[in-house]
Symmetry: C2
């Protein structure tokens, strides 16, 4: 029971992890210090986790990563919008 | 076999996802646009996943999240170092 809560807490925290970053980019209209590679890695990673979840028929993995992927899509969009032309060097 | 590769790719991408962010903060000495809440959520989330992995005796979950946690610790350290005094508003 307590372990179910730990698992749900873990999944909730990481699944919504980029939500505050989306809010921050939206409010400040800036993404200069944000790593685009980190966002891309998590976006592709969430998609792969989703496929893996479909394969092992685990609806928690599918659902959590579908939500994460949607948030990451918005994050990458905002990153491209607000980072464009500010600095060329991408890390 | 192909699904094992998808799973390993997914785990590798998300486990090392904050590595480029660490490199970027280190190189630019700046973390103004980075969301501290996102870093904290992932750090606590990785710790919870680790505990959950210990509970279900899954060494992949334990190992991947131990590495993620270590990278996040460095990320939070750099965030606090380079963000201090730059802007008060934390999102």
């Amino acid at each position: 029971m307590v372990w179910t809560i730990v698992g749900i807490a873990a999944a909730s925290l990481t699944m919504s992890g980029f939500f505050p970053q989306v809010i921050k980019m939206w409010k400040t209209r800036s993404a200069k210090d944000v790593s685009g590679l980190t966002l891309i890695q998590f976006m592709v990673g969430a998609a792969f986790w989703m496929f893996y979840g479909i394969h092992i028929h685990d609806f928690i993995i599918i659902g959590a990563n579908a939500i994460a992927f949607a948030i990451l899509l918005i994050a990458v969009g905002l990153y491209l919008k607000f980072n464009r032309g500010m600095q060329r060097k991408r890390v």
